[in-house]
């Protein structure tokens, strides 16, 4: 089984703060991490390999420093790592990102592709399903459990708002996974040592045979027009008085708004 796990190096958005005076993001000292959902994707890949045999390749598209995320993946026991990096990819939206990743996957070959359900910086959840469409293979999103892995098909549980669906798919298939699927392992000391020395394969736009017009800003149908700070609430009332008085004014306020 050829398993490819796509990961993204992201700023730890929980650490990002806004400068209230300038309305801009404070990025200083914000650490880069592997997108938390992708850790579950890596764990899923490793577990499938342990059960069904084969190899796990980790793939990321990003600037040269994304190599760190790949080394961290290698320390978990992933067999090989590929960095898809090229200035031509800069400014890619989800469409152009998915296109480039799909071309890379085509280049390396895969039976099962696993992604985290979304990245915590963009939160779009679009790149996984878009990769599947570019590769013309099925995908199953929000996988919370893997029931069966066969030679030519697999059965998984897909998390829905009201429960879950049991879905069967032919292979190759792309899965996007949620946290409930597993608990990611910690790197071993041996893994860490090996990861330091491991070779990381680098691919460029030319290597994967990507069409230039589909890459980066040029290949991105969407553009960010502007960014702005979320508006603070203007109608806030901090209640005062004894606790009983506060509760009374709250009940009164809610009654006036026809909420009770």
């Amino acid at each position: 089984m050829r398993i490819v796990v796509c990961i993204k190096q992201v700023p730890d958005t929980a650490e990002v703060r806004i400068n209230p005076e300038t309305n801009t993001l404070i990025r200083d000292g914000v650490p880069s991490i592997i997108n938390p959902y992708d850790l579950h994707a890596l764990e899923a890949g490793l577990q499938i390999k342990e059960k069904a045999g084969g190899s796990v390749t980790v793939l990321t598209m990003g600037p040269p420093q994304a190599e760190l995320a790949l080394r961290e993946s290698l320390s978990l026991g992933v067999d090989s790592a590929i960095l898809l990096s090229d200035r031509a990819f800069a400014g890619s939206d989800t469409w152009a990102t998915a296109y480039a990743l799909a071309k890379a996957i085509e280049h390396i070959g895969a039976d099962i592709i696993i992604c985290g359900k979304q990245a915590i910086d963009g939160d779009t959840a679009q790149v996984g399903p878009e990769i599947a469409e570019f590769l013309d293979i099925p995908h199953i999103a929000y996988v919370r459990k893997i029931d069966e892995i066969g030679e030519k098909s697999m059965v998984v549980q897909r998390l829905m708002d009201d429960g879950y669906d049991v879905v069967e798919s032919s292979l190759p298939v792309l899965l996007t996974v949620v946290r409930e699927l597993n608990s990611p392992r910690m790197p071993s000391l041996k893994g860490k040592m090996a990861a330091k020395k491991a070779e990381i394969r680098k691919l460029t736009a030319v290597d994967i045979g990507a069409e230039e017009n589909n890459l980066g800003l040029k290949g991105s149908p969407t553009q960010v027009r502007n960014i702005f700070a979320p508006e603070a609430r203007k109608d806030r009332t901090m209640l005062e008085g004894t606790m009983e008085e506060q509760i009374n004014s709250l009940a009164k306020g809610l009654a006036e708004l026809k909420c009770l």
Binding site: T13, V16, I18, T24, L25, R87, A90, G91, D93, T94, W95, A98, Y99, D121, G122, T124, Q126, V127, P129, E130, E133, F134, P138, H139, R158, M160, G163, Y164, D165, V166, V167, E168, S169, S170, R179, E180, L217, K218, S220, P221, T222, Q223, V224, R225, N226, I227, A229, P230, R233, D235, R236, T237, M238, M243, N248, A251, G253, A255, C259, L260
Partner: protein, 395 residues
Amino acid sequence: MFIRVNKEKCTGCETCVMSCPYDAIAMKEGKAAITELCQMCRACISVCPEGAILEIEEESDKKEKGQGRGVWVFAEQRDNTIANVSFELIGAGRRLAEMLGTDISAVLFGATESHADELIKWGADRVYLCTDELVKNFNDEPYSRLLSDLITEHRPEIVLAGATPIGRSFIPRVAARLKTGLTADCTALEVDVETKNLLQVRPAFGGNIMATIVCPHTRPQMATVRPRVMKRGEYDAARKGEIVKVSAANIQSRTRVIDSVKEVSEAAINLQEANIIVAGGRGVGGDKGFALLHELAEALGGSIGASRAAVDEGWIPYRHQVGQTGKTVSPKIYFACGISGAVQHLVGMQSSDIIIAINKNAEAPIFNVATYGIVGDVFEVLPLLTKKIKEVKGL
């Protein structure tokens, strides 16, 4: 299009460097320079005190758009019930259609004509209805294929869908297939009067900042919209519309839904549909505290929510989690009890109509988004509040 710095005007003040959320401005020889990390967000243009940063349009920016017409809404159903978000989208879509001087159609898979009729009464001018067995249950491949084919045939200007597990799973395939832009999880939609482009507003950077996204050169412009953010339109039982039957006869699927299992927890039927949510965080302290939350929720007829901190502590299952890594909710009333208000939580609930924050710490960021704030211990406040609510409701 690209951004350029006029080196003669640049004084090297670095204001733009600070303003750039993408870290895409470097200082070279005392002047600002835009690097390849630039995402064209234009934040720097407005902050430059010298007016030295310019937006340059290229020839290739003037590509021809397809001749799109009409606003479309994907109306999702599950178990023969149309999701609420579908009616909200018709309300939002109708407003956009009026601004653009066009009409609005809904696309409905796996339901019946009476469902289609319901969509018309809620404001759709036309419903494309597929009643084939293949699309009865949600399945990504047939859904994305059928919707793509319909879009290719009828060329709508705008396509909206709910940012639900269904919409977020198959709509990206449609956008990939049609080579057009898709903006996820929009919280507001407007039309640029000049260009007629759809302005799609969504939280970015984990909800730390809002971004307006446009899709200027390709059609349709596609967006998924968070449930409970848009308002429903007017229901008119007399409204007439057209129902167009479509067939999925030529569509294959490589995935098959074997079973659909419902997992409904006691209080939270479905957080996203709840009118009132009583949510607890670290300040609730554990099971005893959550019992107080349950009492209040029961008195109000509400559901229970939680912050990531409370879920991580194991006080309540993940399905109750509200926030960036949990559910996005927008109830009429949201009680945030002992929740400090980390950004990760705020993005999941700040579009609630009324937010009541109860926290010991008067400086907690949750009070910034609150309609009503009570500084106090949840163990003191909640029992009093529950008692009062019961009194008012005559329970």
